[in-house]
């Protein structure tokens, strides 16, 4: 159980998907129960994972090694013989550390909420639940994969289900939105693919290569002495290319000694592309690929369209977890593999983050559709994730990871809010409603909680997250000098705008005398929340409040990894830049 826990979490939904595929169409009312059971199982397992995770003792080893991961599973998967160019090795390699464990938990929680929110989906149930379960497999898969190839696989596997879920079950302009989503993400993933190909050509698996060269009898017999010898041989270009075992292992990619001597991604490479070293270019490509997913200005325009057209559960999944893959990818892959890029481009990344925060907040202020408003607020809040990463301080990184979790929970709540309104009136225009507080008091309570959590009121998780990000951004100038202080100040004013659009919306829609516009065509009366809806709101509200009061719940598992990661990025990055 313990040793295969992650695989169970990732692949459990596939078995349920199979069951749904086999069940005939006339049993379709059971599909949602199957989906719910799968999500429940996943959540229980994820909580078990979270509680049994022990951060490794501080500074266990100098390099970024496998020892830092728990629940590791490593099975050889594909071994391609490339003839004179050696071998290509792909592992089924998964594990968790502080950077991704909270995200696995988040994805399970969000998928569970989405499963409950899917209750009233009526058409083409088989396809719908099949795709949802496929997502429930690929999203945690993305988070736990430590092999780049495996990650890319899960990343691409997410595309098609999402395309169909938006395109088939979405709103009136669903076709446009789904294609836009698909193309943006695919373009982003192509950049990632280019870097992946380049990396696989440049990086060798030191252990397997040592075995192949006869330096050690088998993989277990490889010691640090063997590795030193191998790295020496590699640096002296004494290994014949036929003996090189190429690898997609991200951990090997973070060690510059594993790069082939004359490959262009080697840190000593004298190649220049457009005046930059190929490693910096590769960093930029990865960054752009993931920023599309995050999304950040200027690649954000697919998000509002996708959100407005997607059905509520899909919006929840999209905002709750899919965007986080962008943030996680930047940390693990872009910064992890090319640390010098994070230092070299820190000013630009910070700038993009600040623009993203402010611009999206201003746009949100002008939105008349409440779902669009929430979508832009998502862009604005994900900007904080980027800002925290750009600051390259432990506070900033911790804040970023905290923000990802917190935003996942809060965004789920916000999109539920939009969904509840849409279910009742089929219109989300803010101006059409007034004084809803009198008609729907419980709903209004949760709206208030969600809005205040999102705008960063102390006591809610959003406050802690943004506070730490801003702390990191403020400290950056004095600690490492990467981000000027005005960026932090501008980002703080983003919070102010956030407060403005939330409070203004609250005032327009919920306060005052109850009245509805004549444009509204309300089929059912404006009923307050049903028990099923409360079942979704209550846990989310509890989590955001709980995290606001006990930030240690996240920081305790995260902080060791992040502070080590930041010091790795700073040390390695500074060395490589020289």
């Amino acid at each position: 159980m313990h040793s295969n826990l992650l695989s169970y979490i990732v692949f459990l939904p596939l078995f349920f998907a199979l069951a749904i595929l086999i069940l005939p169409e006339n049993k379709s009312k059971y599909y949602k129960y199957l989906n719910l059971i799968s999500a429940l199982f996943q959540t229980v397992l994820s909580f078990y994972l979270y509680f049994s995770y022990k951060p490794y003792p501080h500074h266990l080893s100098a390099s970024w090694s496998i020892n830092r991961f728990s629940f590791v599973e490593k099975i050889p998967w594909i071994q391609l013989d490339l003839g004179s160019l050696g071998k290509l090795k792909i592992d089924y390699f998964i594990g968790v550390d502080g950077l991704n464990i909270t995200l696995v938990l988040l994805s399970a929680i969000v998928m569970l909420i989405a499963a409950i929110a899917s209750w009233h989906i009526e058409k083409k149930l088989k396809g719908y639940y099949g795709f949802i379960l496929l997502l429930a497999c690929s999203v945690p898969g993305c988070f736990v994969a430590i092999d780049f190839f495996l990650f890319y696989l899960f990343f691409e596997l997410m595309l098609l289900p999402m395309y169909f879920l938006i395109g088939l079950w979405g709103g009136p302009r669903r076709e446009y939105a789904s294609i836009k989503f698909f193309l943006y993400t695919l373009f982003g993933s192509l950049f990632i693919l280019i870097v992946m190909i380049a990396l696989s050509a440049s990086v060798i698996d030191p252990v397997e290569t040592a075995v192949k060269l006869g330096l050690a009898e088998n993989a277990e017999a490889v010691t640090s002495k063997t590795l030193t010898e191998l790295h020496y041989l590699l640096a002296e270009n004494k290994i014949h290319s036929i003996d090189k075992v190429h690898s997609f292992n991200v951990l090997y990619m973070t060690d510059h000694q594993n790069f082939i001597w004359d490959s262009i991604l080697n840190i000593n490479s004298k190649h220049l592309i457009a005046g930059l070293s190929p490693r910096l270019i590769a960093f930029l490509l990865l960054l752009i690929g993931f920023i599309v997913k995050l999304p950040s200005v200027p690649f954000h325009t697919w998000l509002p369209d996708a959100h407005v057209e997607a059905p509520t559960p899909i919006s929840i999944i999209l905002a709750g977890v899919l965007l986080k893959i962008g943030g996680y990818g930047i940390i693990r892959f872009a910064y992890g593999i090319f640390p010098e890029g994070g230092i070299y481009f820190s000013w630009y990344i910070g700038f993009v983050a600040v623009v993203s925060i402010l611009y999206a907040a201003f746009v949100a202020l002008a939105m008349g559709d409440i779902k669009k408003l929430i979508a832009y607020s998502s862009v604005s809040h994900m900007g904080f994730v980027l800002l925290g990463i750009a600051s390259l301080t432990p506070e900033g990184f911790n804040g970023s990871i905290y923000q990802m979790f917190s935003h996942g929970i809060i965004a789920s709540m916000l999109f539920l809010i939009a969904g509840v309104l849409y279910d009742r009136s089929h219109d989300r225009t803010i101006d059409y409603y007034r004084g809803l507080a009198f008609k729907m008091p419980v709903y209004t309570t949760f709206v208030t909680i969600a809005f205040f959590a999102s705008l960063g009121l102390p006591g809610f998780s959003g406050f802690i997250a943004e506070l730490f990000v801003l702390l990191g951004a403020f400290n950056s100038q004095s600690v490492n000098g990467f981000l000027p202080r005005w960026m932090a100040i501008l980002a703080t004013s983003g919070l102010l705008i956030g407060a403005a659009y939330y409070l203004w919306t609250l005032q327009r829609m919920f306060f005052g005398k109850f009245s509805l516009s004549a444009h509204l065509n309300i089929r059912k009366d404006l009923l307050d929340l049903s028990p099923r809806e409360k079942m979704m709101f209550v846990p989310l509200a509890v989590i955001t409040l709980g995290l606001g009061l006990f930030p240690g719940l996240i920081f305790d598992v995260v902080s060791v990894s992040t502070s080590d990661f930041v010091s790795y990025v700073l040390n390695a990055g500074r060395t490589y830049l020289k």
Partner: protein
Amino acid sequence: MVPENYLINFTLNSIGRDLLFLFPESFLLVLFLVLFFLDVFFKNKNRFYFQLILLLGILFSTALNLTDFFALSDATPRFLFSKSLTRDHVSAFSKVLFDGVTFVFIFYQLVITTSNREEQKNPLPDFNYVLLFLLMGLHFLAMANNLLSLYVSLEIVSLAGYAAVGFGGNNKSYEASIKYLLFGAFSSGLMLYGISLIYGLSGNLEFNSVLNMNHPFHYVASVLMLSGVLFKISAIPFHIWAPDVYEGASTPFTSFLSTAPKAGGFIVLCRIIDAFLDINHSLQNTVAAAFGIIALLTITIGNFSALWQQNAKRMLAYSAIAHSGFLLVGIAAMSGEGIRATLFYLFIYIFMNLVAFLMVDFFADQIGSEDVHNFKGIGMQVPFLAIIFVINMIALTGLPPTAGFYSKFLIFSALWKSYTITSQKFLLVLLSFGLINSVISLFYYLKIPYLMFFKKSEIQISFKTNYKIPLFFSLLSVPVLVLFFKPELLMNYINYLFS
């Protein structure tokens, strides 16, 4: 000094011995004669049995080639007829592949299709003869080891192809046949002229003299010679025939035409490049650049033309052109890895394209139209078949979880490695354009699935389907899925074949 008649005797003996190794081809000839005499005696009666005999014959031929493939060892001669034909793993494997494609094509027409069209259910016996000759030509093409045998086998394939396209049963197919003939004859003339120049310049007809350009005039000769091969694989600028011919021929035959002869062309091209790499020439970068430019143009023009097509078959025809471009990328890498990646791609391509064309035939036949806009709503009516179709479109785009992903991945990896070795900037350009083109191709590959699932059908269609059809198409799609999870199954084999 050896007496003259001894030499003649020796040659005659070796010819007699070599003939024995042409057993699979002789069998095709026998099959042809059997069908021919049956036709003479039982005119127009029991056509179904003729087709059945043909089907079983092809199956037997596949089995023959398969045993031949496994029986290959160093003990048997590698070259036949004084080195004009070669007998190696590649040729044996290609023959199995060609026979397999033919088998699938005939099997589809005889057993699977629900079509009542006369030319499919009861093709004229003449079509079978032409097909058998086409197949025989492909067999020789797979074995061709010098320019003369290459030319002759290519001509057999082409001539039989011109005739076979005309059996589509409508005016469009006659027109396509004539177009194919005109373009084909022209390029074959160019090729023959090129071969004669090469012979004049280098004094031999070996493959390695094709690109061994040590005389300015040899450049012209090489270009002329290669134009014949480029025509067969429908590369730019010799692609103009492809859309019309693919559209004009009956769709099942198009599925054959777009896979087997193209594979033949690529195998010859791989042999030529392989021979060229052996002499390790300083011209490598020039040749790579030439193929790179052709590949780039072929991908781009094929893709952008496919974007505007409303006819499903025509769209797939342009997509097939774009795929030729991707395959040429592997050639442009100018390395053993590139050639192996091309072969891998070719294998996957054959399966993807077979399924794509045959499914379009199935759908178009039921709807009565090849216009993509009439495919609306099919996804809701026959979801299983539509999902298989989507999987194949994803594979053609090159996305996981299909082997189409690996084929593109390996091709681009080979290109990247060539770039790191030679640091030629145009390889990087080719790489980025190739990747951008895969995104562009998504627009038209997902167009049909999009219409199938996202749109409501305007006309009421009741699909006639049975257990055979989903089974047939899922079996054909198995390699595309399985080879994603275990690509080494095929790759190790290709390494073994082409080492």
